[in-house]
């Protein structure tokens, strides 16, 4: 499960607020005492962002907002806002009504919590307050899943939530622009896997289902009502059509109809192909797939049943599993990841005897198959995302430590950026080095740009000089002259004069002219002027000539320059 707290530029943001499916006690919710020991969270959090509707990302939300107490904004995309309360309610029913647990949130709390939700659109820049802005990107994974870019001043963080870098039958691939965040926080569920091609996996899946049906077995596919279920339905629907199969496919009741309806209304969030053809043929209207009734489980003959929830930890899928577990002709296909502690996780690890409630045990004889259909990025996908966003630091979450360690090594080697992998409850501090934005006077900038020529020349850097005026919160860079003017200061001229005597029989004007000609020949590359008022100027140094009163052959040279003059070395 995910629940991450980010402090950036003085702002605190909670990223996801997930629940652990494997626990039935307090450990299932995040430990909010890390934020504050007593009282509400509103004062400590600037906003909460939920990446998608899976319960391991939003399951603790009503608990956090209504039971611990948080009244600030909660951001999520429109589809997430639509679907999340239904899943929460569904889960609440299983836990409270069926298992009879107390100390859990109520229906009203879910409603109140959803009132605090502000919907996010893709690529919209939302100004949470004057300094904090967030922007959502498409993440694939499930309908409405988003990655978020969080920015305060010139520091930024990207949080991926769960994402998928390869388009599947109903969703597109995650995408982000080159936003160069200081930190990229990525999930790493499949940190070490490089999954084979999608087509192979699909063929494999269809083969297994087909074989089982042929020998008269029943196939159970535990799924979450929204997401993978729709992809597999599309897959089976087309397969049934092509092979002209007759065995019934059922989808456990309740969410089905509704779920498909969400997909129809949020069709802009699906992949290109579905979006393009939806007017002619809506992919989410299934012909072969019918609603399931509890009594069908005992029907003879082969069938395929999609049942919720996906990890076999409660509800209908668990009931059907118990019924069918004893027959080796039957099969259960786990199309996604299972959290430790769930029955799904146990049977995948090869456990053949399960302890059930009330000390009874269940012998597992049916075939157990695992098919990675859950749409997470694999190692290749994670690397691909890093290449897209070009982060300065990397932070891996939502994965198993050993696998993360492997990926961390790979990332550090390939991109030479620091990679962190904090455990739950651990804090990582990343130091950033932000630049300082300043307003430069256009005159000064244009002067410098003109000097630099039209094309930048990396080999000949040009220095610019100016005065930075710091006034209240504004930083202005202007030329020194302008700074004097703006601050109402008078300029103080510092000049130096030096007398040099030399012997020269010519008249004053001739001497001056000779000096001029001489300097002209010696000082190449300097501006030398002979002015009509009887002076010679070398850049801004003034030279005058006068005869000594005693001896007309002794000339006195007056050299005068200002403090700002750059010395000329000969």
């Amino acid at each position: 499960r995910s629940c991450i707290l980010v402090s950036i530029g003085g702002k605190n943001i909670m990223l996801d607020c997930g629940m652990h499916m494997g626990y039935n006690d307090d450990r299932r919710f995040p430990d909010f005492s890390y934020i504050t020991q007593n009282g509400r969270l509103t004062d400590f959090l600037d906003c909460v962002i939920i990446s998608h509707f899976h319960l391991d990302h939003c399951g603790a939300l009503p608990f956090m907002s209504e039971m611990v107490g948080y009244d600030g904004p909660i951001y999520m995309t429109h589809p997430t806002k639509a679907i999340c309360p239904i899943l929460l309610e569904d889960f609440r029913k299983i836990t409270v009504d069926k298992k009879g647990e107390t100390n859990f949130f109520t229906s009203q709390m879910i409603k109140d919590c959803m009132k605090k939700v502000v919907p996010l659109n893709l690529h919209q820049t939302v100004q949470v307050d004057d300094e904090l802005e967030i922007k959502a990107y498409y993440a694939g994974h499930v309908l409405g899943a988003a990655m978020v870019h969080i920015k305060v001043g010139s520091e930024s963080v990207v949080y991926t939530g769960d994402y998928n870098m390869t388009p599947d039958r109903h969703l597109g691939a995650a995408w982000i622009d080159k936003c160069r965040p200081d930190i990229l926080i990525s999930e790493s569920t499949y940190a070490t896997t490089i999954r084979d091609s999608k087509r192979c996996r699909e063929r494999d899946f269809l083969k297994k289902v087909h074989e089982s049906i042929e020998r008269g077995g029943k196939v159970l596919i535990p799924v979450f009502a929204l997401g993978r279920a729709q992809e597999l339905c599309i897959l089976l629907e087309t397969f049934w059509e092509r092979m002209n199969l007759k065995a019934p496919i059922y989808f456990s009741t309740g969410l089905t109809e509704k779920a498909n309806h969400y997909y129809k209304l949020f069709i802009t969030w699906t992949n290109q192909k579905i979006r393009k053809t939806f007017v002619q043929r809506n992919m989410f209207e299934f012909k072969h797939i019918k609603a399931f009734d509890r009594s069908y489980a005992d029907n003879p003959g082969p069938m395929v049943v999609f049942a919720t929830p996906g990890m076999l930890h409660a509800g209908q899928s668990l009931q059907i599993f118990k019924k069918w577990a004893g027959n080796e002709k039957n099969m259960v296909i786990m199309p996604g990841y299972c959290v430790q502690g769930t029955i799904g996780h146990k049977i995948l690890n090869g456990q053949r005897k399960l302890e059930m409630e009330g000390r009874s045990t269940l012998d597992v004889k049916l075939q157990v198959e695992y098919m990675s259909f859950s749409a997470h990025a694999d190692a290749k996908g994670i690397m691909q995302l890093i290449r897209m966003a070009e982060p300065r630091n990397m932070l891996l979450v939502h994965g198993e430590a050993v696998k993360m360690e492997f990926l961390k090594g790979k990332i550090e080697q390939e991109f030479s950026i620091d990679c962190y992998m904090p455990a739950n409850g651990e804090t990582v501090t990343v130091t950033t080095n932000p630049s300082v934005p300043v307003d430069i006077s256009l005159n000064l900038l244009k002067r410098e740009m003109a000097l630099g020529g039209p094309l930048p020349d990396p080999k000949k850097p040009r220095t610019m000089h100016g005065t930075l005026i710091m006034k209240e919160n504004s930083l202005k860079l202007v030329s020194s002259e302008q700074a004097l003017k703006e601050l109402g200061l008078n300029e103080h001229q510092l000049r130096f004069t030096c007398r040099v005597q030399l012997q020269d029989p010519h008249s004053d004007t001739d001497t001056l002219h000779r000096i001029y000609t001489h300097l002209k020949s010696v000082l190449k590359g300097y501006t030398i002027q002979h002015l009509p008022d009887g002076t010679v100027m070398v850049e801004s140094i003034v030279i005058k000539v006068s005869s000594s009163t005693e001896d007309p052959n002794t000339k006195v040279l007056l050299l005068s320059w200002s403090y700002q003059e750059i010395y000329i070395y000969l």
Binding site: H78, A82, P119, N121, H123, Q124, V126, Q127, K135, S154, K258, K264, L265, F266, I267, F278, V279, N433, S435, V436, V438, D439, I440, S441, L442, E448, M449, G452, P456, K460, P461, R462, T463, M464, H465, T467, L468, I469, M470, K471, E472, K476, L477, S480, A483, L484, L487, L489, H492, Q493, L494, R495, F496, T497, C498, R499, Y563, Q564, E565, I566
Partner: protein, 658 residues
């Protein structure tokens, strides 16, 4: 900063803004009112139209009977209808970097601009704008291509001839530039250049300018645009609405603090109240049906039609019209109805919450499900067999010059039982009906234009306080027909800058500052000194790097150590050593304190002489003069460099450097 105005139509604008080395086209509206000068294109052969007499001038000298036909005293061009394009000669359109689209009505000229001018830029629009804009273009092309006309009339465009034609043909402008409709291939190519944006998304253009669309409340995905840099802000307001219909409400607060606000797309019906019109629409519709007549509603396939259908959904039961068939006929009818249901993000709050249930946001889904509303791609095919009367037909084009509506005009025009109800405000209904006269059918004019009226816009401007307003000249005077209504114009202080077709405006804008980033290393090396309470100064010497219109300042790199080379084969060209120039000085040198300092440094024999502007200090032992004045110090010292340096440093102690 300059604004080039390429369209004279205030609600179908096309302007080009030059701002900070970028060239931005704002909207790409196609003036379709030109088609009113043409004869309608019938879907099936119309004996009436083909029998219209040709036009010959009164004295018989000018005979254009092949090209011009006369109907009820008006003259029409018998040719495929043509459109008045945005001005192409005012500036080189291939230099346009981006085109910003505000709503789907304002993009209909896009293929003319992107396909035939050497345009290589990007077009920005929201997803609904693109999708529905595509539908409208597709419909237009379809309307034109399914009834091809071999003849193309050109003689009447001759300047000498046009001059002698009766009005309004005589007064039509730039007829030589009028063009026929584009092809589907051109539409696809033009739309492939569109990049999708979401509301409040910040799009960087070449690092110099940031543009961002804002909800404008007028139609699905309609937007106003903010074009800004760090220090300047231009708002482009086009087709906005404050009424609560189906789109997301208008974002007004983001328009605040604009230097310039370009205002286009106000209501074309400033005296008609949309709600009142809607009521009139319903009652006229019910009256006609009850009397056994048919109702024809010429309309666009997207936009107000959604509101009309929603209104009828609530109305038909109470008005006992439950059995009356409603038909929506357009090549894109189905797509338009389907697309309207999938843009939850772009809808008003009310409709959004329906999607969360999940239910379709528009009730026309239910009308279709219960068979009350049927849609067909054209009058041919299924429609002809399923069609029952009396009925209500929604179909295009609102100009009555092409599309299925032409057929219904011919079919129903002769009976006074039938009614045509105009709801679209883009065309004068009298002009639209002219080629069908004489007409027995009843005509009702209920133009529904939800765009801002003058009262709303002046309130809005008061709130957002732009420094300057630019608008079409039509908004700076009352409408011609109601010249006494001074409330139907913009009155602002300072007065708005009016534009017309082909105007080039210099926008009153002085850019003074630009954003530059000081890199951390340099920032750490700066030494600020407080010069006045709360104001500090620091001298900055840095290397300016400019890349992609972004400027950064970095520390001056230390010159690399000269490699020890004893043999000099060639004079090595050393890079010019950059000498830091000395700062400017400010302040004054106080006499007493300065004398004391001199003494401390062993200069004791000082003769002070008072002058008009200050003092002259004569350091007798050193034979040196120091002239101290309020705004200057002059050190006259011969050939004694160490002394001069000492004196300089002593003087500098009393002065501020910047």
């Amino acid at each position: 900063m300059k604004l080039y105005c390429l369209s004279g139509h205030p609600t179908l604008p096309c302007n080009v803004l030059k701002f900070k080395s970028t060239t931005i086209m704002l909207d790409c509206g196609l003036d379709t009112t030109s088609v009113l000068n043409f004869l309608p294109l019938p879907l099936v052969h119309s004996p009436r139209l083909s029998k219209l007499p040709g036009w010959v001038s009164k004295d018989g000298t000018l005979n254009l009977e092949k090209e011009l036909k006369e109907c009820a005293g008006r003259v029409f061009v018998d040719s495929q209808p043509e459109f008045c394009l945005p001005e192409k000669e005012l500036l080189d359109l291939s230099t346009i970097d981006v085109i910003l689209i505000s709503n789907y009505h304002c993009m209909m000229a896009l293929p003319y601009i992107t396909e035939h001018t050497g345009f290589t830029g990007t077009v920005y629009a929201t997803e609904p704008t693109l999708q529905i804009g595509r539908l409208l273009m597709e419909e237009l092309v379809n309307f034109m291509e399914r009834v091809p006309k071999a003849q193309s009339a050109t003689c009447w465009k001759n300047k000498e001839i046009q001059r002698m034609l009766p009005g309004p043909l005589k007064d039509a402008v730039d007829v030589w530039t009028w063009k026929r409709s584009y092809s589907m291939q051109e539409v696809n190519s033009a739309l492939s250049k569109v990049q999708l944006v979401g509301y409040s998304q910040k799009v960087e253009l070449f690092g110099a300018v940031q543009v961002s669309p804002l909800s404008s409340g007028y139609s699905l995905g309609s937007s106003n645009w903010i074009i800004q840099s760090h220090h300047e802000k231009v708002s482009y307001v086009s087709g906005s609405s404050l009424l609560t219909t189906h789109p997301q409400p208008m974002d007004q607060s983001s328009l605040k603090n604009s230097d310039v606000l370009i205002l286009t797309g106000l209501t074309q019906m400033p005296t008609a109240n949309p709600d009142g019109m809607l009521g009139e629409f319903c009652s006229n519709l019910a009256m006609t049906i009850r009397a056994g007549g048919n109702v024809l509603v010429p309309c666009y396939s997207s936009g107000v039609i959604y509101d009309l259908l929603e209104c009828l959904y609530q109305f038909i039961e109470s008005a006992n019209l439950g059995t009356t068939p409603f038909y929506f006929i357009s090549p894109v009818a189905n797509s338009s109805l389907e697309f309207s249901q999938i843009f939850a993000e772009w809808l008003c709050h009310n409709k959004q919450s329906k999607v969360y249930l999940p239910e379709p946001p528009f009730p026309h889904a239910e009308l279709i499900q219960t068979n009350k509303l049927k849609h067909y791609p054209s009058i041919h095919g299924d429609f002809s067999s399923e069609f029952r009367q009396p009925c209500v037909v929604f179909t295009g084009h609102p100009s009555l010059r092409f599309g299925d509506v032409v057929h219904f005009m011919e079919l129903w025009g002769k009976s006074s039982l039938n009614t045509i109800i105009f709801t679209e405000p883009d065309f004068s209904y009298l002009d639209a009906l002219a080629p069908y006269q004489p007409l027995a059918m009843k005509c009702v004019y209920c133009p529904i234009d939800t765009r801002l009226n003058f009262h709303q816009v002046s309130k809005l401007l008061k709130e957002v306080q732009p420094l300057h307003v630019v608008c079409p000249e039509q908004y700076t005077q009352p409408p011609l027909t109601q010249s006494h209504r001074s409330d139907l114009m913009l009155e602002l202080q300072p007065p708005p800058m009016p534009y017309r077709r082909c105007s080039v405006l210099n926008l009153p804008f002085r850019r003074r500052y630009e954003r530059v980033y000081i890199m951390p290393e340099l920032a750490n090396s700066l030494v600020p000194s407080e010069i006045k309470p709360g104001i500090s100064l620091a001298t900055v010497s840095a290397v300016l790097h400019s890349k992609d219109n972004k400027h950064t300042l970095q520390s001056v790199p230390k010159p690399p150590p000269v490699p020890p080379s004893k043999k000099r084969k060639r004079v090595i060209e050393e890079p010019p050593v950059v000498l830091a120039p000395k700062p400017l000085l400010s302040g004054a040198v106080p006499l007493e304190a300065f004398l004391a300092t001199l003494q401390k440094h062993g200069i004791t024999e000082v003769k002070v002489e008072e002058t008009a502007d200050g003092h002259i200090l004569h350091l007798q032992a050193e034979d040196t003069l120091i002239q101290l004045e309020e705004d200057g110090t002059h050190i006259v010292c011969d050939n004694n460099e160490p002394l001069r340096t000492t004196l300089r440093d002593l003087v500098l102690r009393f002065l501020q450097k910047l």
